[in-house]
């Protein structure tokens, strides 16, 4: 009897040791529960996370963004920058092969960057790299990129440009349906509304990676179904989930939550070409009326932080730098009166209906604003209609959520510069424009800091956006999913280091 107990104990200890062992194990398929079906898998034209969580495994860039939001070498082994900051010379990693077996050359990279720049592609990242004047491969392993002006976020922007095979694209392959790159996983199969299957790239350049044999993105639209699926082990990994789902999964046995700060933030956008938000005092008053801490509690279940125009930890000014972040409905009324609205204002607020967090936040905001004389008529819109109104600047205000960028210029320039590509607010301010240009063309990081500190103060209280909350980014996984690290940009590059403990 005693002997049996003893061997049982040994077996138990062995089993525990097995699961706690930190040596990664090769093999296995990771069952991912994804909330939406991507509409296409061409990373040069995609705009949705549903596409990026898949293409991020298939493709790589010259650089990649790490968990501290710094660029580091990927397909480029190293680089040099000329004294004037206008010429970048990249040494391309050798021994990299595409999934079809062809070796990567500098020519493929030049082709990919030019594909993004080509207006015929219609790429949403084209304007991000509009300071690139010329790209050329000077040898199979050397790439030269010339700029028309120094551009501080250059290395970060290059991480977003997926490198494709020139031959493969020119052979007329449908890049939306049959992606092919150099990444750790190769595209295998896509059954619409069911799953997308990626298989291990056997000749991946990072030795011994990836550990997993395959990734299977199961498309499961219903949140409750994903929750039960993870609890029962049908799915092993739910990337980038809503805070409400995270709260319900918190105490589930054999399930762990993986967290980091999210770069995405909820916001109220104001149309400055319409009354009353053409008046900066009214915009300031709206900020005074908001109670961001309350939104964190009520909508984010405590998992978030109020922040200003920049949420990036390394660049963000503390909210104490913005006086209007001290909730004060009386001050808000006073400002409204000064702006000529002693009886308060009536206006519309459109809300993107596809995001639960935003819909919840809009309701709380409506209540808070009402206390200060802002009477918002809230209208929750289906995504297609919302995008149309947003694009055409057909709103008084809107509530939405924006993805963030690893460099401050990535978000601020397109949003707040006069005529910027996502400046749907029609905001135009010469001081802001000057600072934005200064910020992107100053390469030295210490010299950039004061510029962005100044910009944040300019924009926080009187800008066209009232920034609400930066949430905590949650992913949920079964306990035996090891080695994954989250990144605030929501990219899943560390699936290449992920393994399944037995």
């Amino acid at each position: 009897m005693k002997g049996r107990w003893f061997s049982f104990l040994i077996a138990l200890l062995l089993a525990m040791g097995w699961s706690f062992a930190q040596t990664p194990v090769r093999g296995g398929t990771l069952q991912i529960g994804a909330d939406a079906s991507p509409s296409g898998l061409d990373p040069h034209v995609a705009t949705a996370f549903a596409s990026f969580i898949v293409t991020g495994q298939i493709y790589e860039g010259l650089t990649e963004i790490d968990e501290r939001l710094r660029p580091r070498p990927a397909l480029a082994e190293s680089w040099t920058v000329s004294q004037d900051g206008l010429t970048y010379t990249f040494k391309i990693r050798s021994g990299v092969t595409f999934h079809d077996g062809k070796p990567l050359t500098a020519g493929d990279i030049a082709f990919s960057i030019n594909r993004v720049r080509d207006p015929k592609t219609g790429s949403p990242i084209a304007s991000r790299i509009n300071l690139i004047k010329d790209v050329r491969a000077t040898s199979p392993t050397q790439l030269v990129v010339e700029l028309s002006q120094p551009f501080a976020p250059m290395l970060i922007e290059l991480a977003n440009i997926a490198v494709m095979s020139e031959d493969y694209v020119k052979a007329g392959n449908d890049m939306q349906r049959k992606p092919m790159g150099t990444g750790p996983f190769a595209f295998k199969e896509w059954v619409p509304d069911t799953y997308i299957l990626l298989e291990r790239h056997p000749r991946y350049w990072r030795q011994g990676r990836p550990y997993l044999d395959a990734l299977r993105y199961n498309i499961v639209p219903d949140a409750a179904t994903r929750q039960v699926g993870l609890a029962s082990g049908t799915y092993q990994f739910l990337p980038n989930i809503d805070p409400s789902l995270a709260v319900t999964l918190r105490n589930t046995p054999n399930v762990k939550l993986i967290t980091t700060q999210d770069l995405a933030y909820s916001l109220i956008g104001m149309n400055v070409s319409r009354k009353p938000f053409d008046n900066p005092r009214v915009r300031e008053a709206l900020n005074y009326a908001l109670n961001r801490q309350q939104i964190v509690q009520a909508v984010y279940f405590g998992n978030g932080t109020p922040a200003g125009p920049l949420g990036l930890r390394s660049w963000a000014s503390p909210t104490s730098a913005f006086p209007c972040y001290n909730t004060n409905p009386a001050r808000a009324r006073e400002l409204l009166a000064q702006a000529g609205y002693p009886n308060g204002v009536d206006f519309g607020m459109i809300v993107i209906g596809s995001n639960k967090t935003v819909v919840d936040a809009a309701q709380v905001v409506q209540q808070q604003l009402a206390l200060a004389g802002f009477r918002a008529k809230v209208e929750v819109l289906e995504q297609g209609k919302f995008i149309q109104e947003w694009r055409n600047s057909n709103f008084d205000t809107f509530a939405s959520i924006n993805g963030g960028n690893a460099d401050p210029d990535g978000y601020l320039f397109r949003t707040f510069s006069t005529g910027g590509s996502t400046n749907v607010f029609k905001f135009s301010n010469p001081t802001v424009d000057r600072l934005l240009n200064q910020g992107r063309t100053t390469v030295n990081e210490e010299a950039r800091r004061p510029i962005y500190a100044r910009l944040q103060v300019e924009l926080a209280c009187q800008g066209p956006i009232a920034h609400l909350v930066y949430g905590t980014l949650f992913s949920a996984a079964r306990e035996n999913v090891q080695g994954f690290k989250p990144i605030p940009t929501r990219s899943l590059i560390y699936l290449r280091d992920t393994w399944l403990a037995r």
């Binding site: 705009t47 219609g122 949403p124 029962s232 297609g384």
Partner: protein, 317 residues
């Protein structure tokens, strides 16, 4: 007689299909946010010229009547066009999904009808007994439960009671027969329960009507056994309203399949249509709705034919 009836009904069918095709064509184009806007999403880089080029490529720059005529004339030749997102033929997209939904709805239909008959008979016979109250309570609950809620509840219940059960998603029968069936159980229950409850109630009340008729009393007084009275005389006549309701319910079944497919992550017609609407995939919506309408109209024709089988007095003219 029969032939002229069929010809007449076929003409009706064409008329209905034409009406539906016009309605669907116009309605999806009246939803705010057109295909091009949705396709671009948050992509604001595109120039007005690029936008125009994209519209032209999709044929959306033409006047709406021309668009309709182009589509209709191709559809009459059997060509439903191509999905504007995937570029694949619509017929191919639909054929991939249709069998899944057909299997789901037919299984639910068979189970609902198969169980509704004993439930209806028993409740009619056991009138005012406690068993009848129990079944009635069950059927009222069944009719009123929304299927998205019932589906989620079943998923949770099965997870608590039988954690090993594979109940989510879809695998083809050819790949894993047992996995295929085990994943169908919950969706079929979710879909058939409201229908079973509704049909059971209809059968009960029509059976009660019939059982009070003179010819039933005559049959009983002739000394026929209760079995024969029930099956040969009562049930057959009570079936007519039931068949009508089944015909209507099949339409609801397609609607319910959309919700059930969403909850259980099943890639059927419901998900296809829902996704197509969200993407404003015009040709795909048109093709799919046209197909579902055809099916619905044909089922109603079938119902009319079944009347004649059940009741020889019904004539077709």
């Amino acid at each position: 007689m029969m032939l002229s009836f069929l010809v007449k009904r076929s003409l009706d069918l064409l008329f209905v299909l034409f009406g539906v095709s016009v309605l669907v064509f116009l309605m999806i184009r009246l939803i705010p946010g057109d295909a091009v806007q949705i396709m671009l999403g948050a992509n604001t880089e595109i120039t007005p010229e690029g936008l125009a080029a994209l519209r032209e490529k999709l044929g959306l720059n033409k006047p709406i009547f021309v668009q309709y005529w182009d589509w209709l004339s191709a559809a009459l030749r059997g060509d439903l066009g191509q999905s504007i997102w995937t570029g694949r033929p619509i017929s191919e997209e639909i054929l991939q999904r249709l069998p899944i939904t057909l299997e789901l709805t037919f299984l639910s239909l068979i189970i609902a009808i198969g169980l509704a008959i004993p439930v209806g008979v028993l409740t009619a016979y056991w009138r005012n007994s406690s068993a009848e109250y129990l079944i009635r309570l069950f059927s009222i609950t069944g009719v009123t439960l929304p299927s998205f809620w019932l589906g989620t509840l079943l998923i949770f219940l099965v997870f608590k009671l039988a954690p090993g059960w594979q109940s989510l998603g879809y695998v083809p029968f050819s790949q894993d027969p047992w996995g295929h069936i085990s994943r169908l159980v919950l969706p079929v229950i979710t879909l058939s329960l409201p229908m079973l409850a509704g049909l059971g109630r209809v059968l009960r009340s029509s059976l009660l009507d019939v059982l009070n008729q003179d010819y039933i009393r005559t049959a009983r007084s002739k000394g026929l056994s209760e079995r024969v009275v029930l099956y040969k005389h009562a049930l057959r006549n009570a079936m007519i309203p039931l068949v009508t309701v089944i015909g209507i319910q099949v339409g609801y079944l397609f609607g319910g399949a959309i919700v059930v497919e969403q909850v259980f992550a099943i890639p059927g017609m419901g998900r296809l249509i829902l996704g197509a609407i969200n993407e404003r995939n015009y040709p795909l919506i048109q093709g799919a709705i046209l197909l579902v309408t055809t099916a619905f109209v044909l089922i109603n024709l079938l119902v009319d034919l079944v009347y004649a089988k059940l009741d020889p007095r019904v004539e077709y003219a």
